[in-house]
């Protein structure tokens, strides 16, 4: 009796992906304003995340920390002027898009790659890219492999539901080499596959692999190849059709980028309140005309910087130099410093 009910319970769970997507389709797609209304009524933003140190991980007291988590808090500041009115929930790459579609989340800040399929076929909108990444290969050192091509005949772990599952197939078709995938949904099992020697390599977003390498039992036995197999622009994802929510997400991210460009930081932001620069006055809401026009708290950008800091501070605090991950800014610095971060004007 019991055995049966557990069996059938998982049976149902196995279909959760397709079932949730179906449910989402039966309900109609999002209408403008709907998401914000729901968030306000609930008093909380629901955010779907992964479990990668530096990106999104609960600390010893259970409070979520990380690069993507900070953008979730920034969003809570925009909506509620309270960085705590946000709830983070882990969801696997396979489950999270359907879960967003069916209304379980208001937004995904889980390192989702913006793609045309996800926009048109799966019905999602994307905010500004918050992290420019590329797909990498984490390989056992003793294989002596320096390039992806040399993995001919290797067994490679891929995580189901990710762009990586598709990119790796493309990569080997392009190079005319063969590989055997082991497709795993659950993140823990995915890492164990490499740790136990079941697979020769893992493929995922490169920075995700760099961060997860630290969780392996012998991190030094593995090397992240320098090669990138794809472009992985990681952006906030929301249900298509809610323009208002999209704009809130857009300008929240832009506020952190623009603040860095202005040189405004969490520490010095108050000193800018007296700035004579009309652009900075508008940005910080000292001149309230802008906020009134867009229906947000005129000081939302000020509040964000005050509560979580600018883009550079968010990066440095969680994944940058001096953190265990020690990532270079790479493309992820303002265009004025040669990177790809570029906020449209606040005017």
């Amino acid at each position: 009796m019991q055995r049966n009910s557990i069996g059938s319970r998982f049976f149902t769970k196995a279909f959760a992906v397709t079932a949730a997507l179906t449910a989402a389709l039966i309900a109609s797609s999002a209408l403008a304003g709907e998401t914000l209304d729901k968030i306000k009524a609930r008093g909380l933003i629901k955010v779907g995340v992964g479990t990668t140190p530096g990106y999104f991980t609960p600390d010893s007291s259970g409070r979520w920390q990380g690069f993507f988590v900070d953008f979730g808090r920034a969003l809570a500041v925009t909506v509620f002027n309270d960085a705590e009115k946000v709830e983070f929930t882990n969801s696997s790459p396979q489950q999270r898009l359907p879960a967003l579609q069916s209304g379980e989340f208001d937004i995904l800040l889980s390192g989702v790659t913006q793609t045309v399929t996800r926009a048109f076929k799966l019905g999602f909108h994307f905010g500004p890219v918050v992290f420019y990444d590329g797909q990498g290969l984490l390989v056992r050192k003793d294989l002596g492999v320096a390039k992806g091509e040399e993995l001919d005949g290797a067994t490679i772990g891929v995580q189901s539901g990710t762009t990586g599952e598709l990119n790796i197939a493309d990569f080997f078709r392009k190079t005319g080499k063969a590989f055997t995938p082991v497709t795993i949904e659950e993140t823990g099992e995915f890492l164990k596959a490499l740790d136990s020697g079941r697979v020769d390599a893992l493929t995922q977003d490169a920075t995700d692999l760099a961060a997860k390498r630290t969780q392996l039992s012998k991190p030094d036995d593995y090397v992240l190849l320098p090669e990138r197999l794809s472009k992985e622009p990681l952006a906030p994802a929301i249900r298509a059709g809610d323009d208002q929510w999209l704009e809130i997400v857009n300008w929240t991210v832009y506020a952190t980028i623009q603040a860095e460009e202005f040189g405004i930081t969490q520490k010095n932001v108050d000193s800018f309140l007296t700035s004579e620069d009309p652009g900075i006055k508008r940005f910080l809401g000292v001149d309230p005309s802008l906020g009134e026009a867009i229906g947000l708290d005129p000081k939302f950008a000020y509040n964000i910087v005050k509560a979580v800091g600018n883009y550079g501070e968010i990066f440095d605090r969680n994944v940058g130099k001096g953190t265990p991950l020690n990532f270079d800014r790479g493309y992820n610095q303002p265009w004025t410093a040669g990177g790809l971060l570029y906020s449209p004007p606040f005017r």
Partner: protein, 383 residues
């Protein structure tokens, strides 16, 4: 005719028609709503996507498949994987289950207690947990370089089980396959006719079949057939050659077999106990030995009780194979999920999964019912 109609409609015909129409209307509403919102997100409902290119790879397939083939082919490969684990699983679970069921009734207290504990343990822990355990055990095996080797030919490592395989060349399979099957069938029925009632029925039958197969093979070699044995060997990243069972398949198979054997052993036990003790006594009075009593008297009668219950065990095993997703075996559910995720055709994917399991269940039931009818009839005729 009117009486037929009234059985269909029950005592409250109008209420019934009304309710039925209501249910239909709700489904129609859901349907049109779904089509509507699919079209709004730019999806066209329907199965046209099945003929588009699927750009993902599947780890292991019985049907040839590679990235760039159609979704239809990918799903077929997933289905074949499901069928493979279900068929092998049902056969092995039956063998193990019957052995355990008989062991429990053997009168040997230690054995009986052991089997009892085994059954209770398996029936009262979630199958998913059992699968994770098997998967962890297999992952803990040494890597290919340090693989356990048996008889220089069977390799056990965390890359799976590698055994020698035989390939036949020189003659088209269209010739040797029917020849071998026919020989096996003919010798089996011959052995059966000659040996019924004899004490050494099974070994003698096996010898007859084996002997004829050897003769058949020798005959075929004179027409150019040659068998080569492919031994697995260590090479490159992995163990190469031979026939390989992946750790995922192996873990799923063991998990399903061990789990199903518990319920099958219970079924066998109760089936045997359902045969009245008079039958045992009568057989003993005729001077039959215990093994003969079991084979010739008890099992044929017990089968009538056992078979219908086995059907549901087989169906359980087949449905439980959808747990494959969790440990990385690419079954139909896993492929359908990826398909839904890359095409957005979730509704279609779920329809396909439903149709597949329905068809599998109905065919397993149909086959077993056919068998059931045969043994029931034979029992009746003898009486």
């Amino acid at each position: 005719m009117p009486s037929r109609l009234s059985t269909w409609l029950g005592p409250l015909p109008f209420g019934q028609i009304f309710l039925f129409a209501g249910v239909l209307a709700i489904f129609a509403l859901f349907g049109s709503n779904t089509v509507d919102s699919m079209q709004r997100t730019g999806l066209s409902p329907g199965f046209g996507f099945l003929f588009h290119q699927a750009n993902f790879e599947i780890g292991e397939t019985v049907l040839p498949y590679s990235a760039g083939d159609t979704y239809a082919r990918a799903l077929a490969a997933g289905l074949a994987n499901t069928i493979k684990v279900a068929i092998v699983g049902c056969v092995l679970a039956t063998v193990l289950g019957v052995a355990l069921g008989i062991a429990r009734l053997s009168g040997n207290l230690l054995l009986a207690t052991f089997v009892h504990t085994y059954v209770e343990l398996l029936r009262n822990t979630p199958l998913l947990l059992q699968l994770f355990l098997w998967s962890a055990i297999i992952h803990a095996l040494p890597p290919p370089r340090g693989a356990y080797v048996f008889l220089e030919s069977v390799y056990l490592s965390n890359r799976g089980v590698h055994v020698p395989s035989v390939s036949l060349q020189g003659l088209s399979w269209a010739i040797w396959l029917p020849a071998i099957l026919l020989t096996a069938y003919a010798s089996l029925s011959l052995a059966r006719r000659l040996l019924t009632g004899s004490t050494f029925y099974i070994p003698k039958a096996a010898m007859t079949v084996l002997g004829s197969l050897v003769v058949c093979y020798l005959a075929l070699t004179s027409f150019g057939l040659a068998a080569t044995i492919d031994l697995p060997a260590k090479g490159g990243f992995n163990i190469k050659g031979g026939l390989s069972l992946t750790p995922e398949f192996f873990a799923l198979l063991i998990g399903l077999v061990v789990n199903a054997s518990a319920s099958i052993s219970d079924i066998v036990r109760s089936g045997i106990q359902s045969v009245k003790s008079g039958q045992w006594e009568a057989a003993r009075a005729l001077g039959l030995k215990p093994a003969q009593i079991m084979r010739l008297v008890v099992l044929p009668q017990a089968l009538r009780v056992i078979t219908p219950l086995m059907i549901s065990s087989f169906l359980d095993l087949t449905k439980n194979s959808s747990l494959a997703v969790a440990i990385g075996y690419p079954d139909i559910v896993s492929v359908a999920n990826t398909t839904a995720n890359t095409t957005g055709q979730a509704l279609e994917a779920i329809c396909i999964i439903a149709a597949v399991y329905l068809t599998l269940s109905l065919s397993v039931s149909a086959l077993m019912n056919l068998y059931n009818r045969r043994i029931v009839l034979r029992g009746e005729a003898r009486r």
